[in-house]
Every structure is written in C-alpha cells, then in structure tokens.
C-alpha cells in the first residue's frame, strides 16, 4: 500500500506541477493586447480602424493607409457630428435624419461562454404585448420537458395546467414535435419590445413562440427546416429588420426576417469557439468574428445582407519565449474563457519538454538506486 500511495502522490504532484507552474508563468509574463475598433464605412466603402496612437485626436485608417476623422463613420458617431453641426444631410444618395440613424442602429455581441454552459431548461415567459406598452417582469415561466412545456406561476411555484395545455396545443397545432431542442430568447424588460422565443423541435424545425394577452402565439418557419441549426440568437432590434440570427451545422450565419424568410450570408461563425460582434447601421452591417488566431470582418448590405467586402486580421503580437516548453511536455488547465466547464485540458505540447523530463526522471531513478546500494 505504501508503493501505491507513493504512485498516487507522485502522479498527483506531476499533474499539480503541470497545472500550476505554467499558470503562474503565464500570469507573470502576460501582456495585454488589444485590436483596433473596426467598422465598414459607408463614406469610403472600406474597413476603417480606430488608431489610438494619438490620444487627443480621433483617427481612422483604412486598409490603404488613408487617415480620416470621425466623419468617416457618420452613422456610428452621428450624435457627435450632429453636435458639431457636421452630420451630413444625405449618405449613399439617400437623405438621412438622426431619427433614421438611431432607428436602424443595431449592436449584438455574443461569446462562446454564453453557449458553452449548462443551462436550466427553464425560461421566463414575458407578456409580449403589455397593456400599458411598457414591458414588465414576467410572472410565469415554462419548463422544457420530454413531453412538452410546463408553465408555472413563479410566485407560488404552481403548475398552471390549463395554460400548459394551451401552450402545448398551440405548438402541436403548428407541427412542433417535443421535446424542444434549442431555445433562444432574452426575457428582460430592459428592451423596447419582446419577441418571446425562437426554438427548434425534436426534428430541428424552427418555431417562434410568444405570449400575447396570456395566449400562446406560435409560428413555424419552414424556410429554416433544411438548415440543421446548431445555434439561434434572437435579435429584437429597434428596426425589427430581423427576428433572429441562425447558425447551421456548417457554421453559416443566416438572417431570419420577421416574415419568416431566411437569408443566408457569407459569414462563417462558430458560436462554440468564436466571439461575434455585429454593428449595423442604415446601410451596412459590420460582422466581426474572432477566435484565438485573429479577427474576420464581413461587410454586409443592410437591406439584403449580401457580402460587400471582407477582411481578415491575424493577431500580430510576437509570441513570447515560453520557457515552460523547455521544462514541461504540456500544460494542464481546467477552465477556459470560452466555456463554463471545469474539465482537464492539455495544450502546448512540447517534445523538448518531454525529453527533458524523461532525462530528469532517469537521472533521479539512477541517483536513488545508487544511494540505496551505497547504504546497503
């Protein structure tokens, strides 16, 4: 048992060292790195990046190296330009007002950690058309179960059987096959309106569910049936241009319009690995996806989401000398900024580290054997 204990302690210490030493090294040597804010400009029809080298002046630089002020992004900085009296009367040949600009501004961001966690199958049910127009806190919630939804009154944790029956009947009437698979929604009263939830059924078909006057309103979107969706993001923008964004198994991003049409885009986005930032205006959407290697920008037309331009920007920081590679065969970590799981992750494999460790192990064994023989 002493030998087994020694092995247990030895293995545990080895894992501990693989975990903690590289972690400490990274903390000590970590340097911050940031990328410039980049948007597609409707003025110069190119991607322009904010240059922060001069803290006093706002400078944007396009891909050709041309330098501009904030007038190159009139829709994003419309308030500032308007206050200076510099907001243009028209853009892209169309007269524009501040109201139009504000109405059509969209921002959406998503990171992998939002999707790579275990969520409770409980969803708050807002009243999408409140009596006094102002959204209020939800009183009910529905639970996704194998045979259907179950609607509960949260105040006293009571199953609302009759309401449950109505919701399940409404879903079944539209062809919904239980249990629900993906469910996406933003149940918060910190928004202008509520569109309830987009959800897929057991066969992967896409449905829209919301509560209006306490009654379920369900729609099926046949246009999305063939997509084999892996992720849904509900949008709820002021301009209601889209109902949601859909990501299929090939990581293609599709725009779902409120009328049920699905528009495929050229954007490739892996929600499990990449951050997403969408900044949209009256004319163009700048879609940025970013992962460990770099950033990918897509400029889409706002009206039909067709691709206008794209740009890839790999990170250009110099990889610092990683001393741990010369000492350890790999690095062990248990968490990631991309997900909410605690699990062992081995990375940064190094043959040099493996050889060094093997040599050290052989040396220690030989030294102990020699010491044991000398004592005897």
């Amino acid at each position: 048992m002493k030998k087994i204990g020694k092995i247990f302690i030895g293995l545990s210490l080895a894992l501990l060292v693989l975990w903690l030493v590289p972690w400490v090294y990274r903390i000590v040597t970590l340097e911050s790195y940031s990328t410039p804010f980049t948007l597609y400009s409707c003025v110069v029809h190119d991607f322009t990046s904010l240059d922060r080298s001069d803290a006093r002046n706002f400078r944007f630089i396009d891909r050709k190296g041309n330098v501009y002020g904030d007038e190159v992004q009139p829709l994003f900085y419309h308030s500032i330009l308007a206050s200076k009296g510099a907001f243009p009367d028209s853009l892209e040949g169309i007269p524009v007002t501040e109201e139009m600009v504000e109405h059509n501004s969209v921002i959406l961001s998503a990171e992998p950690k939002e999707f790579n966690v275990k969520k409770a199958p409980v969803y708050l049910l807002m009243e999408s058309v409140p009596v006094r127009l102002e959204l209020h806190d939800p009183e009910d919630a529905f639970v996704v179960r194998k045979n259907g939804l179950a609607v509960y009154r949260m105040a006293d944790n009571t199953l609302l059987e009759e309401k449950t029956g109505r919701f399940n009947a409404a879903l079944s009437a539209e062809g919904f096959r239980f249990p629900a698979n993906l469910v996406a929604g933003k149940p918060s009263h910190h928004k202008e309106y509520d569109e309830g939830y987009l959800l897929t059924d057991a066969e992967g078909k896409l449905f829209h569910l919301k509560q209006v006057d306490g009654e379920p309103v369900v729609r099926h979107f046949p246009a999305a049936d063939s997509l084999d969706l892996r992720q849904i993001l509900i949008t709820e923008f002021t301009n209601r241009a889209t109902l949601g964004y859909l990501v299929d198994r090939d990581n293609r991003l599709h725009m779902l319009r409120p009328d049920g049409t699905v528009i495929p885009t050229e954007v490739r986005y892996d929600p499990a690995r990449e951050d997403l930032l969408v900044v949209g205006d009256l004319f163009y959407y700048t879609v940025k996806t970013s992962d460990a290697d770099g950033e990918h920008f897509f400029a889409l037309r706002s009206d039909d989401f067709s691709l206008v331009d794209r740009m890839d920007r790999p990170y250009d920081f110099e990889e610092e000398v990683n001393l741990c590679k010369y000492v350890f065969p790999c690095r062990l970590s248990f968490t990631s900024s991309d997900d909410g799981w605690v699990k062992p992750r081995f990375s940064d494999f190094s043959w040099i580290g493996l050889v060094v460790d093997l040599l050290v192990a052989v040396f220690i064994i030989a030294w102990r054997w020699r010491r044991k023989n000398t004592n005897n």
Binding site: M1, K2, I4, G5, K6, F8, I9, S12, L13, L16, W19, L20, V117, K118, A120, P121, V122, Y123, L124, D137, P138, E139, A141, V143, A150, Y152, M154, A155, D156, N157, P187, S188, F334, T335, G340, W341, V342, K343, P344
Partner: protein, 223 residues
C-alpha cells in the same frame, strides 16, 4: 470487535458531530430564512429570474461548510490517535490492521454522509417549496461539489494527521490545497457535471494516502 471499534470512534467524535450538526442546521436555517425574506419582500419570481439568468445557485453562503466539517472531523478523529504515538495502541489490537483503519475512516465517511444527506434533504425540500424540480436539481448538482470537498478534506486531513513526518505532511497538505482549489475553481452552476464522476473517483482513491501514512508510521519514519 467491530462494534467496539465504532464505539471508540463515537467516543472521540460525538460532541464534534453534535456541534457539526448544529452548525450545518444553523447554516441551513439561515439560508431558509434568507430565502423566505427575499420571497416575502421581492417575490419568488425575482429568485427564479436570478437562478435562470445569473451564475448563482443562491446557496453560496453554505459552500465552505462541508469542507470545514470534513477537515475538522478528521482532526477530531485522528489527532488523538497520533498524539503521543497512540496509534501504536490501535495497531497493536488483535484485529487486522488494514481493516481497522478502514473501519475508522469508514466511520468518518459514514458520519459525514449522514450529516450531508440530512442537510441536502432539508435544502431540497425547502427549495422545492419555491422552485420547480429542474431548478432544484440544478442547485443541488452544483452543491454536490461542495460536499465532495468535505469528503476530500476528511480523507486528506486524516492522512496528514496519521503521517509521521512533517515533510510528507506538507506534501499532502499542498495536494489538498490544490484539490480544494480545483473543487472551488468555478462558480458557474453545473460546470462540474462532466468531471464530477472523475473527481469522486480521485477523492475516493485518496484513501490510499491514509494507508500510506500508516505504512510509513509502521516503518518508524520520523522527522
């Protein structure tokens, strides 16, 4: 003989177990009171909202209690065995030594299980009053790691108490610190779902440390 072994452990630990029961009960009662006051003033729906949208399970106040109970039980049970090398008396008893140690720490594990099960049951019943089954399961599955920390602390601290040399005690303490760090690394609910069975296995395998310490004691290793 088995009865007497358990009797000996009972004599050592009875007052501590009572104190641990009272502390766990007080913590559970406090949690229940907090919840009911929150429900009274803000409504249960606010708590549902928090559970669904935030990274919390509402019981975070209780999270380190099992760890403390486990570690302290090991001290109460095993420190008297090693003070003045009293372990020699225990090992000299005409009873298989391995089985003796297994019964001793088996008693501790059983005592912890009873305490933790009692608390978990009361919590589950109380939570079920306010929340749907799926949310209660989420909370208790998240809390499972905290209870595992209690078992880990018990086993590892027992090994520290039984270990005759300070050098190895430090090694085992370092391993325990790392294990506890791992068990409390993430506060995201259900983040340990995948790794939990492996962690349970690792903690249970940690029992070899107890036998390892006793074997080293029997060899006469000392500082």
């Amino acid at each position: 003989m088995n009865r007497m072994i358990l009797y000996k452990e009972w004599l050592k630990t009875r007052w501590f177990l009572l104190a641990a029961f009272l502390v766990l009960a007080a913590g559970t009662f406090y949690m229940g009171l907090s919840l009911s006051k929150t429900v009274q003033f803000n409504g249960a729906d606010k708590l549902w909202e928090v559970l669904v949208s935030k990274e919390t399970v509402l019981l975070e106040t209780l999270k380190y209690l099992p760890l403390a109970v486990g570690g302290l039980l090991a001290v109460v049970q095993f420190f008297p065995e090693t003070a003045r090398k009293r372990l020699k008396l225990t090992l000299h008893l005409p009873y298989p030594q391995g089985r003796m140690m297994a019964m001793m720490y088996g008693y501790g594990l059983a005592a912890l299980t009873i305490l933790f099960l009692l608390q978990a049951t009361v919590l589950t019943v109380s939570l079920r009053h306010y929340f749907v089954t799926e949310l209660v399961v989420r909370i208790m599955v998240t809390a499972a790691v905290w209870y595992l920390a209690g078992y880990a602390a018990y086993i590892w601290v027992a090994a520290v108490c039984l270990e005759p040399t300070w050098r190895m005690r430090v090694v085992v303490i370092v391993l325990l610190a790392a294990l506890v760090r791992l068990l409390f690394l993430s506060g995201v609910p259900e983040s340990y779902n995948g790794i939990l069975p492996w962690l349970v296995l690792y903690v249970l395998c940690g029992q070899v440390l107890i036998f390892h310490s006793v074997a080293r004691f029997k060899e006469g290793l000392q500082d």
